[in-house]
């Protein structure tokens, strides 16, 4: 199979994702960057289910799914096998945040410590969407999910997002990056860089989920952009454990981002919960400091 790079798609339309699905968009952008000489390893979750209802498939490159938590281990085996056969395909994992942050972390840690030449891409929609919107280790502070519901005595998820990029960088990964579907060129560039870097690389893609977060599917890109603009999501790159580059923004307060989604609705009803919003603002401020995303005013 060969094709013109600009027009060729390796993730085809006709799959069963919700209209405006962030992860579906990520799949399309990732596979455009990885190209035809790639083997994709998937985990159980929305993307696997919406893209491969037997006997149909949206994947035009070889693709394998085994279980929810073992994509990194399956990829280890694929890599060992093709290395042994002298083949040169790139091995790329595409897995959800639940599969990555929670249940699969043992397999990922093992694969990274062993140094397999794989690129692990987490599409981070910040909850388990496939099973009906339950919290994961990637769910942001105060988001309401079905297992971290906001209620009389709760303002939603009470734990901050696990810092997986740092954990994987600490494994000695040569290249760790975060990106967003709202910055398609950045996403594709980082994927290209990762697959061309030898060793286990990690990319975390912010993929808004209209169904799980509660917004209109026409606004996926806009929501992604708002996360970047308020600093609750930062695009950065780490090389050999050091942050070397971040996307700069002129930051806006977190309120508009929170107001745009049903998962944070409880923070504004019946009136704005100033204390909680301040805590979320503090998370954005910490991100800004840690990743250096603020545009400094010119002197």
């Amino acid at each position: 199979m060969s094709c013109d790079e600009k027009t060729c798609e390796f993730f085809e339309p006709g799959h069963r994702a919700c209209g405006g699905c962030g992860p579906a968009l990520a799949a399309r952008l990732i596979t455009r960057a990885t190209g035809e000489n790639t083997i994709i390893v998937a985990s159980t979750g929305c993307m696997e289910v919406f893209s491969t209802p037997y006997p149909e498939t949206a994947w035009k490159t070889p693709w394998i799914h085994s279980l929810f938590q073992n994509a990194a281990a399956v990829a280890s085996g694929v890599e060992a096998s093709i290395k042994r056969q002298g083949r040169d395909e790139k091995v790329v994992v595409i897995a959800g945040d639940g599969a990555t942050f929670d249940i699969g972390i043992l397999c990922i840690s093992g694969a990274f410590e062993r140094g397999h030449d794989i690129t692990y891409i987490c599409y981070d929609n910040e909850a388990y969407m496939n099973t009906g919107i339950q919290r994961s280790g990637a769910t942001p502070y105060d988001a309401s999910t079905t297992t971290s519901p906001a209620g009389k005595y709760s303002t939603g998820n009470q734990r901050p997002k696990k810092d997986l990029p740092a954990i994987l960088a600490a494994h000695g990964s040569p290249y760790v990056a975060t990106t967003s579907i709202a910055t398609p060129k950045d996403l594709m560039d980082k994927v290209t860089r990762a697959i061309n870097t030898e060793g286990p690389c990690y990319i975390q893609v912010h993929t808004p989920c209209c169904t799980g977060w509660g917004f209109d599917g026409a606004k996926t890109m806009e929501i992604g952009k708002m996360a970047l603009d308020c600093g609750l999501w930062a695009n950065f790159e780490m090389v050999d454990g050091e942050i070397v580059k971040s996307r700069k923004v002129k930051r806006v307060p977190v309120e508009d981002y929170l107001k745009s989604q049903k998962r944070f609705r409880h923070l504004f009803k019946p009136q704005p919960n100033e204390a909680e919003i301040a805590k979320i603002q503090a998370i954005a401020d910490r991100n800004a400091e840690k990743y250096g995303i603020d545009i400094k005013p010119k002197k």
């Binding site: 390893v41 209802p53 281990a73 280890s76 060992a80 096998s81 395909e89 093992g110």
Partner: protein
């Protein structure tokens, strides 16, 4: 050439001769000596393959799925807690039709923690879609690996297989073993020829999800392949016999069964002790025989029915317990079903759990119990602690 070898090392030699391209395993007693020896072979260049030093059994079998799907012959080994930890992947490997061979050095499952032998670990996965072969001695454990790869990789089968041998009793014991030469095994076992593989030149999706419209057909196909495997084992076992003089064409093996009134049925190493006990009983004029089951999956119901035709009662010696079932053991249940129409009584006797020794006198007792019509029970219990 006959060599005196530890059972685990004989198995490692057999694996080496099968030329696995990817080995992925995690240590656990009493499987450890196999994987240590394989790691040594790779380090010394005696085994030309990739050894993935995984962080868990879960990843061991998961990586085997990946490597097998990418087109390599793969190998793993485990037991007990390791096998239980893999259970999800065990079902998945069979469902994905990857011909993975895994040695099981049979061991009890906790709690309480116990490292010694029984066969609960592999038997609890009897419905996973893996073939299950049980070895009586180190020679059989060695040979079954050649047979297992040959059957598993046939394009009309494509099922994974456990080669089970009793932990410590076989894995840590030295016995004379005839290890074939590489040329001989190359002549018997062709290079791996995957039916389909992950390949950018011919993209395919593996391990998709299936709705109620399709799922059932996958289960049907696995079962059909398992049924076909009976003939495949007979053929490859016969071929092995012609080449090496050790015939494995039977999925079961009888010992002094002709004219027996009482048959003992068992799996694995205990068959050796049973044979000795039978010889003594025969000398005393008692008509006793053994039916050894070598392949528990596929289950050879027809052979069993045929082999037990003339007996008056059957005593199944079980190193497992079917907790909460009417019949105490998993083997007895299936043997009973196999001979159901003949009306021959089948009794299931549980013993040897967690490494408890089974002696010739126990076997004689079971024969007596079967003749008395004593129903399913434990033997060798320490009454004083109950």
């Amino acid at each position: 050439m006959l060599q005196i070898m530890e059972g685990s090392h004989a198995v490692a030699e057999a694996v080496r001769l099968c030329r696995p391209e990817v080995v992925s395993a995690y240590p656990i007693t009493p499987q450890t000596h196999i994987v240590e020896r394989l790691a040594e072979m790779v380090a010394d260049g005696d085994l030309d393959g990739e050894y993935i030093c995984v962080e868990s059994e879960f990843s061991a079998l998961s990586s085997c799925i990946g490597a097998s799907a990418a087109g390599s012959r793969v190998y793993s080994a485990t037991t007990s807690q390791g096998l239980a930890f893999m259970a999800e992947v065990v079902f998945n490997a069979a469902g994905m039709r990857q011909p993975i061979i895994m040695t099981i050095a049979n061991r009890a499952l906790g709690a309480p923690l116990n490292i010694w032998n029984d066969q609960q670990d592999s038997l609890f996965l009897r419905d996973s879609g893996w073939m299950q072969f049980y070895a009586e001695d180190a020679q059989e454990a060695t040979d079954l690996h050649f047979l297992a790869y040959k059957v598993a990789e046939r394009h009309d089968i494509l099922l994974p297989a456990f080669v089970c041998f009793d932990g410590f009793i076989l894995s840590h014991t030295f016995e004379p073993v005839d290890i074939p030469t590489q040329e001989e095994i190359d002549a018997y076992l062709p290079a791996f020829n995957p039916y389909q593989r992950l390949d950018a030149k011919k993209p395919m999706s593996f391990g998709m999800y299936a709705t109620p419209d399709y799922y059932q057909e996958f289960r049907y196909e696995i079962n059909a392949a398992m049924t076909r495997a009976k003939d495949a084992i007979r053929e490859t076992g016969k071929e092995f016999g012609e080449m090496f003089g050790r015939d494995y064409s039977g999925l079961v093996e009888g010992y002094r069964l002709e004219d027996a009134d009482t048959a003992i049925v068992a799996l694995g190493s205990i068959c050796g002790t049973i044979k000795d006990a039978i010889d003594e009983m025969r000398d005393a004029g008692e008509k006793v025989g053994l039916l050894k089951i070598r392949s528990f999956r596929p289950f050879p119901a027809e052979e069993i029915k045929e082999a037990l035709k003339g007996v008056s009662q059957v005593a199944v010696l079980e190193k497992n317990i079917n907790i909460g079932s009417r019949m105490l053991g998993a083997v007895g249940l299936e043997v009973k079903d196999a001979v159901y129409k003949s009306g021959i009584p089948v009794y299931s006797y549980v013993g040897g759990l967690g490494g408890r020794d089974i002696r010739k006198k126990d076997i004689k007792q079971l024969v007596d119990w079967a003749r008395e019509g004593r129903n399913d029970c434990f033997f060798g219990l320490r009454e004083e602690v109950l």
